[in-house]
């Protein structure tokens, strides 16, 4: 193994970590979007039920 491989593997680990964090952040965004969608749909249901 070349001496620089240690640094390379640290970089790989760092990349993996960053990718996982990016996926986590994307999930958090999706979660917020879904929560907003649920709130909007609940409001729509309430409005429709009130008109019945």
């Amino acid at each position: 193994m070349k001496p620089n491989d240690l640094a390379t593997k640290e970089q790989i680990a760092e990349t993996v970590w960053r990718r996982e964090r990016a996926q986590e952040a994307a999930k958090e965004d999706r979660l917020q979007a879904l929560e907003a969608r649920v709130a909007a749909l609940e409001a729509r249901v309430a409005a429709l039920e009130a008109n019945e």
Binding site: M1, P3, D5, L6, K9, E10, I12, A13, E14, V16, W17, E20, R21, E24, K27, E28, R30, L31, L34, E35, R37, V38, L41, E42, R44, V45, L48, E49, N51, E52
Partner: protein
């Protein structure tokens, strides 16, 4: 200045090391054996981890950093010290298919002082629990959206 005798001794040592490494490789590698022990939960592991760390450091000094094979994935080295970051520990444990939390605990905690604050819980039980909870919440919300859409469609159809 090295004499012929010194050079012969060096060659002998080199050959002995090469033979030991070849024997080790045939057995699947000390590293693979260690990983199995970690996975099986055998004790005492700390001593063995330290021994492997020393061995790795020795080989690194000799210019043969990695002699332990048999682990899939890009991280096939492991100094087993607290100075390695949680990221490296986590990545290594995952690729070696061993329990991440256990590996981190055995190797001296979630990371050394050099870790950024955001990395400190990475790979720990709390981190994995948080991810699992998020996945559950996403699934529940998706189901809720589907149910609400159906309810809206039903009410709209009824209203004409």
């Amino acid at each position: 200045m090295s004499t012929a005798q010194d050079r012969m001794e060096s060659r002998k040592i080199f050959k002995a090391r090469a033979a030991a490494a070849a024997k080790n490789k045939r057995k699947g590698g000390a590293h693979a054996t260690l990983m199995k022990k970690v996975a099986d939960g055998e004790e005492p592991l700390r001593r063995e981890l330290a021994a492997v760390g020393l061995e790795l450091r020795k080989h690194r000094m000799l210019g043969h950093y990695t002699v332990f094979g048999g682990v899939a994935g890009p991280i096939d080295w492991w100094p087993f010290g607290q100075r390695r970051s949680a990221v490296v520990k986590w990545t290594y444990a995952r690729h070696a298919d061993v329990d991440v939390a256990k590996m981190i605990e055995l190797s001296g905690g979630a990371g050394g002082e050099e870790d950024a604050p955001a990395q400190r819980d990475f790979g720990t039980d709390e981190y994995l629990d948080r991810l699992a909870a998020m996945a559950d919440r996403l699934q529940a919300l998706e189901a809720e959206v589907i149910a609400l859409r159906a309810r809206v469609a039903e009410l709209e159809a009824r209203a004409g």
